[in-house]
Symmetry: C2
DNA sequence: GCGAGGTGCTTTATACTTCAACCATCACCT
DNA sequence: AGGTGATGGTTGAAGTATAAAGCACCTCGC
């Protein structure tokens, strides 16, 4: 869309519209980076937990019945290998526990330990407070606006992407997939 | 979502306001993740470059006179060690070049090579197009709204944080700083 | 039964990221 | 000069992240 035509003075408007998406994205990134830095460093200093570890625990707290690795990977929107690593470290800290799935031998069920629940509740309070402060630059009205805007964007992204968790039609690597090693010029 | 309490008293409003910041943040993260995933994977498949590498090159393209590592670290809002690594890899690909700073022996000046400029211009066109598509869920009006909202938030974040690049008053590690190794319970 | 293909999880290789320590150089001050 | 402290850059350890390959288990069809 909007390939640039060198015609009238409408043109500058069109170009600006295009650039506008980019400008929005850059501001977005800048804010994201700051917010995440604040949350990460505070979480680390005060609770000795990383942001991904906190996020994983948050999902588990929301699902007391436990979640499989696949479900976690889906909810956190990261790859399976990633979930394996973060879970390993949390398990070493005795904050979560893996147990075999009752009916399906392939799956693993993960849940918070009692210590994990206690630890998480403390962290969550601090975390929420920090988020509130970080977003305090917006009025209630603005937060509501942002919530709506983000909802619309989320919907658009869902519509245009083949859905985060979907496989590429026909499962794994149906066709020899092209590889792009670093060596390629 | 929105476990709404049907009692319209003031208190529930307050509680909801608080939760609202968190809800906005979660949606924000969800969108961020999707957009970055889209950009990263396309950049990798089509141009064999990672997102951080692209970002670094983008800064260099905007500053043809070259940038020091410190300036890059500041602009990209990442740590110095990070910039070292990304620059190392780009240099190995002959896309950027380090050269000593003319007057200050401590500094290093980094700039795009000719090949780097050519490569970046191609990538940038694709990248911008993708960003436009990803944000096409918003009307022009909505993009403008978002731009304003993000501007306000950015200002608030700048005000509340002691500025990204600042040192902790008195330089490096003036006092033995507490450490939080993984072993700590 | 049993084999083919799909699914869930882990592993490996590579890259990014932070934190904190370290080194070299510079600036300033006496 | 010479020393002190700040600054710019790199390094190393730990953790996070993806992509891709591998393994175990399940399902379905015959």
């Amino acid at each position: 869309m909007t390939s640039v035509r060198r015609v009238a003075d409408l043109e500058s408007r069109v170009v600006d519209n295009d650039h506008e998406a980019l400008r929005v994205w850059l501001r977005w990134l800048s804010c994201s980076q700051r917010i995440q830095q604040a949350l990460r460093s505070r979480l680390l200093r005060q609770f000795h937990v990383t942001l991904p570890q906190f996020d994983l625990m948050a999902q588990l707290e929301r699902h007391p019945g436990g979640l499989t690795m696949r479900e976690l990977s889906h909810l956190l929107m990261v790859t399976g290998g990633n979930v394996t690593g973060v879970t390993d470290r949390l398990e070493a800290e005795r904050l979560v526990a893996r147990r075999p799935h009752p009916t399906d031998g392939r799956r693993t069920s993960v849940r918070l330990t009692d210590a994990g629940v206690r630890a998480f509740r403390k962290m969550a309070a601090g975390h929420e407070q920090w988020v509130i402060e970080l977003f305090d630059g917006w009025s209630t009205r603005q937060r509501r606006e942002a919530h709506v805007l983000l909802g619309a964007l989320e919907q658009h992204l869902t519509a245009m992407a083949p859905a985060a968790g979907r496989r590429s039609r026909g499962g794994r690597a149906t066709v020899a997939r092209p590889r792009y090693p670093r060596e390629v010029r």
